[in-house]
């Protein structure tokens, strides 16, 4: 279009150059900040999901040797003698709910098999089932906390 000014092109006045750079930077920053805000917007701050810490009634509600499945929490409460443990029922493979089987647990989705200790016996699950902390609350109720992972041999002993 304008072919008469090829020489002036390289001689932009210094102030003009700074203002131009600043302007572009400011504009780019505004766009980047909006994009970052949009992504952050999509990350929820409050969840309407069941609490990860909850009471599970009196210890004597669970007979000796029982494995009790709690639906809403998706855990098994395991009692042996005076010991209590809490096992996650969520398959570590892809999140299906495992079923209690004769000598352990069975995942229906892709066939992972876990033993009584929650360790993988066969199937695609990369890790054993999680164990969660069990404590006794002040009012003598079992208190399960799914935030606290523990080793398979940690018991609450009464």
């Amino acid at each position: 279009m304008n072919r008469s000014t090829p020489d002036n092109k390289n001689e932009l006045p210094r102030r003009g150059f700074f203002q131009l750079t600043l302007g572009w930077l400011a504009g780019a920053f505004a766009v980047a900040a909006s994009a970052a805000g949009a992504v952050r917007f999509l990350v929820p701050n409050v969840l309407f999901e069941p609490s990860l810490r909850f009471k599970a009634g009196k210890p004597d509600d669970y007979p000796d040797g029982s494995v009790t499945f709690m639906e809403d929490e998706r855990i098994f409460l395991v009692r042996q003698g005076n010991t209590f443990r809490c096992l996650s029922a969520i398959c570590t493979h892809l999140g299906c709910t495992v079923n209690r089987a004769d000598h352990g647990y069975h995942c229906p989705c892709h066939g992972s098999v876990f033993d009584e200790q929650g360790s993988v016996k066969s199937g695609p699950a990369p890790r054993g089932l999680e164990w969660f902390q069990v404590t006794l609350s002040k009012d003598k109720r079992l208190l399960l906390d799914k935030n606290q992972r523990v080793a398979a041999d940690k018991y609450l002993v009464l």
Partner: protein
């Protein structure tokens, strides 16, 4: 001249003031009008006035791209209808599905059409991709249109997957649980991505809301825009690919090679990066009626096929979603069953590495395989290596899908479909 009655009525109408104001050109009678009608109508101007004979050959394209397009249009139509009833709420969604089946007039058929068209679209997009591969149609200058095609393929899968959750039945709930957990295996960002997709840690109301927004507005809009570019490029690349003819030079003039000290008209510029095509006018025919009526006929056939399926087969609806009891076995939609079979060996390799590599290979393909021989023929001898590699991958994918679909029973154990499946034993 004794034209059939509808034609005479149409001719009369397009000669009235009102008809003329709408259609400008009536039914074209001369070659001039045949060109004019193509450029003067909004819908028709997306297509060229003349097309190469080779592009019309049904045995070349098999119309697979067009069929995908029509299925997409049917999905938009039926989907919008479903939106008039559907509410993305974990409490209501399932009941509304039941209402659609038993209460709403034609609700069953509309829902069936939407479901079958969705399955068919995945199938036909895949077939279309195979056609493009086996005819070498992704080669220069169509490389980038292939890449856009890969994007459309992924969008098609995304649309199906997000739609799958909406009925909120067992199938929906567990397919999405499994699918989003696969995403969780992606390195570094996996768990964050899963959290973002679900809007939480588990599949619940937040996930349903998000999937709904993606399914009805985000993905369809992106797909429509990409589709517009896809079709525009088919035209700008000189219509469908075809064998090079003697004297038919594929010429790519770079715009920057043109002298810059003169002003160009649009015609001169537009030719810049497109191949010179159809040098021989003998090989071209008018789009009206040759192309337009074929397209219309195909559209009618596709609609009829979907309607037929929808009338005789019902879309599945299992029990209400139950987060406690996964159905045994819990299966993803069929097009993901090959993936699920892989995932049953290893979630990381099957769910992340293999699909990641496949998509990368698809995107890079036209830039890796740059030989220009064998374009425009099915199974060209010059392309035997490429075709063999592609076929092997295809066969593996099909076999895995068939295994996942028919040979997997309770606990993802091996069953032979011709024998009775063993009874499901539930643990608790």
């Amino acid at each position: 001249m004794n034209a059939p009655l509808p034609k005479r009525i149409w001719q009369w109408f397009t000669r009235t003031r009102i008809g003329r104001s709408i259609f400008r050109i009536g039914l074209p009678e001369s070659n001039l009008e045949r060109s004019q009608v193509m450029v003067s109508s909004f819908l028709l101007h997306m297509q060229p006035a003349k097309v190469h004979r080779h592009s019309l050959r049904a045995s070349y394209s098999l119309g697979l791209g067009l069929i995908s397009l029509y299925l997409f249009l049917i999905l938009i139509g039926t989907g919008v209808l479903l939106m008039f009833y559907y509410v993305p709420s974990t409490e209501k969604a399932y009941d509304i599905m039941k209402d659609l089946q038993y209460v709403v007039s034609a609700g069953l058929v509309i829902r069936n059409m939407h479901r079958w068209a969705a399955h068919l679209m995945v199938l036909f997009v895949l077939l279309h991709m195979c056609r493009v591969f086996y005819t070498g149609a992704y080669k220069r200058p169509r490389e980038f249109n292939w890449v856009i095609g890969v994007g459309l393929f992924l969008l098609t899968l995304g649309l199906s997957f997000t739609g799958y959750l909406l009925p909120w039945d067992q199938l929906a709930f567990w397919a999405i649980t499994v699918g989003t957990n696969i995403a969780g295996y992606a390195p570094v960002i996996g768990l964050k991505l899963k959290y973002l997709m679900l809007g939480g840690n588990v599949v619940g109301q937040e996930a349903l809301t998000r999937f709904y927004a993606l399914h009805v507005i985000v993905l369809p809009t992106v797909a429509l825009l990409m589709l517009a570019v896809h079709l525009w490029r088919v035209r700008k690349d000189g219509g469908l690919s075809r064998p090079d003819e003697p004297g038919d030079i594929v010429q790519q003039i770079q715009l920057k090679q043109l002298p810059t000290n003169k002003t160009y008209g649009l015609m001169e510029l537009a030719r810049g990066t497109t191949p010179q095509v159809g040098k021989n006018p003998e090989d071209e025919v008018f789009a009206w009626p040759h192309l337009v009526f074929r397209e219309l006929l195909l559209f009618l056939l596709v609609t009829a096929m979907v309607l037929f399926l929808a009338i005789f087969w019902n879309a599945p609806l299992e029990e209400l979603a139950n987060p406690i009891h996964p159905p045994n076995p819990a299966k993803a939609p069929w097009y993901f069953l090959g993936l699920q079979e892989l995932v049953s060996y290893s979630a990381f390799w099957g769910g992340v590495v293999v699909p990641g590599l496949l998509v990368t290979a698809l995107v890079l393909l036209p830039y890796i395989d740059r030989q220009r021989k064998g374009v425009g023929h099915w199974f060209a001898r010059e392309r035997v290596v490429a075709n063999t590699i592609f076929s092997v991958c295809l066969v593996i994918a099909v076999v895995l899908t068939i295994i996942g679909t028919s040979f997997r029973g309770p606990n993802w154990g091996w069953v032979e479909p011709w024998k009775n499946a063993p009874a499901v034993t539930e643990g608790h």
